[in-house]
Amino acid sequence: MNGGQALIKSLEMEGVEVMFGLPGGAILPVYDPIIDSPIRHILVRHEQGAGHMAEGYAHATGRPGVAMVTSGPGATNIVTPLADAMMDSIPIVVITGQVPTVAIGTDAFQECDNIGITRSVTKHNELVTDAADIPRIVREAFHIATTGRPGPVLIDIPKDIVDPRNPRSAMEWYWPESVDLPGYKPTTEGDPAMIAEAARLIAESHRPVIYAGGGILKARAAEALKALAERYGLHVVTTLMARGAFPDSHPLCLGMPGMHGNYTAITAMQKADLLIALGSRFDDRVTGKLSGFAPDAKIIHVDIDPAEMGKVRRPDAPIVGDCRVVIEELIRALDQGGPQPDRHVWDTQLKAWRVEFPLTYDQGWDTGDTLKPQFCVESLRDRAPEGTIVASGVGQHQMWSSQFWRFEQPYTWVNSGGLGTMGFAVPAAIGAKVGRPDRTVWAIDGDGCFQMTAQELVTAAAERIPVKVAILNNAYLGMVRQWQELFYEERYSEVYLSPDLPDYKMWAEAMGCVGLRVESPEEVGPAIDKANSIDDRPVVIDFRVDSDEKVYPMVAAGTSNDEVILGPSQGPGGH
């Protein structure tokens, strides 16, 4: 067997059913055995697309996404997805080609230092120097990517060890039964003493809030979270990365906190006397100005990554472990404890805030009234089949999607949270649809984002992956425009994009998709219904929306979460 065959066989042994990639000189020998492999390879149009597709696949399925690209520019083009997956703890395995071993370091054609470049944006990376190491390194890569705090792993493969014409590629096939990584032993079970302490803190708390983060989804802990919340009447906020981890329709759900969270979620955390952080990491977009964040709250912090303990806020009960395991242990500890305090004052207060400060917008229906992006999101939501997966890019459309969609199931929200990668939506939606062909997948995108990665719709059309894309086209880099309007005295610098250059409908059609355009509120419903009825190719709807619409509520960067700026229609003015 040669190294190239061993690599593909190793992927098969790991249960890989699909991979995303684009061949080139250095990785060419590995592409040959793909012809004979049951693994489906999806040929992308740009390597960044391969990386985000692998991420979207992993988001939607929980299984590791796999991407394969060539050396040099192939590898540098996938750095952004690696950084994105690192920030959001997405398990992906990326294979990069490398120039032959003897040429490494000689400035060979399409050479770059993949290991050096990606060291800080991967959980781990490895240069393979011997064909015999391939099965072991692949086995280790999948183990590292999917266990502990998940993340991206990169394997860099010099051409000579996979090229059958080179004697260095010869190897004897084997498959390692286990991995031997003496420095890698993630803790999954929480410390019983700390869990007892956490139970005690909950039993003393009159204003507790569960601060659920993306770790809930990574740990497959949505059921456990629901059990904990319901059994002890605990309200839950779900961060941007945790949308869907707890049903939005649940009476205990407070929705999204943070810079563009809703008033109740933000304020509940501010006024809480106990935050139960489950798989969340006190991101600056959640805490606002740190010194003013949740000043009265004690902190229970559960995370599988010990480095999160005290990184931002010192916890009173730090618990390193898997969220699902720890929540189950915590429920047992609470069951053995005494009765919970009467919290009806707090519960009543939360209810009152929700009534007083709802998420709202004004869609006018008179002739000449502009189309509101929030109305488009609500219409998409109300007309979506059950279990629809939503992917988004980064910016205003992302915040409106997170605010106005109603997430009822885990793994239905795919977005770029930590890195904030514009252009994420289209390829991530394609990856999600490949992983969950049974589901409807909508990408809700901005016009700026769409222009960054739209070419992957060619991939989707060619591969018959019928994703749907809603462009909330406000002709601007809208979030930047919003900041310039609010914080730079309406001095709009380099944010105008034009509503009709490019012509999104024609562009969609040129890429083999159905293209639709919507300019008024009346056209919204019929266009969405039409898009939902098409299942043999991708659909793109160009929603021409109001450029002036802003995302509210908003906590301005660097200010305290006590200073929530409300929108014109969202309750009694800002304060």
Binding site: I144, G183, P306, M309, G310
Partner: protein
């Protein structure tokens, strides 16, 4: 040179897998935060699958705690201990070429003797000295030799191990 004696001076003893690129991973965690590594010594342990890296850094305790946790996340890092200077045995070695004309050579040789160093090379006007010991002793020697003229100097960076317990552990029954 002074920072080695500063109050933020910490010694990390990091046991790593003995593999290519591990040192770059470890040093990269300091570099990305803009922290300078004061000294660094690396060599395989008695088990050749592992190497021990002894790092001396000048960092406040809080960021250091965070760096230690991040270091431990590296797949190739097996074990980390932070050694408080009072609880560690530290040694360092120095090679120094010192200006020693016939008129001053006797004084230089005498001081080398006092510091328990050895002269390992001699030229017409210079001697090269090897000296090993606690880093502070090397600092003192360096300060004294400056008066004569140091023409070249290389220190290894310190190596350290925890001090051994001074009380015997209670005898345990065997069998």
């Amino acid at each position: 040179m002074a920072p080695a004696r500063s109050e933020h001076h910490h010694i990390l003893s990091v046991l790593v897998q003995n593999k290519a690129g591990v040192l770059a991973r470890v040093s990269g965690l300091f570099a990305r935060r803009g922290y300078n590594i004061y000294s660094l010594a690396v060599a395989p342990t008695d088990d050749e699958r592992f190497s021990r890296i002894t790092i001396v850094v000048d960092v406040e305790s809080t960021p250091l705690d965070q760096i230690v946790k991040q270091l431990f996340k590296l797949i190739n890092v097996v074990e980390i201990s932070e050694l408080a200077p009072s609880e560690a045995v530290e040694r360092e070695m120095m090679l120094a070429s010192i200006w020693a004309e016939p008129a001053t050579r006797g004084q230089v040789i005498e001081l080398v003797g006092v510091f328990e160093g050895r002269i390992v090379d001699v030229g017409p006007d210079e001697v090269t000295v090897v000296l090993a010991g606690p880093p502070s002793k090397l600092d003192d020697f360096e300060d004294l030799m400056r008066a004569y003229g140091i023409t070249a100097l290389q220190r290894t960076g310190r190596v350290a191990l925890p001090r051994l317990a001074k009380q015997a552990a209670a005898l345990r029954s065997v069998g």
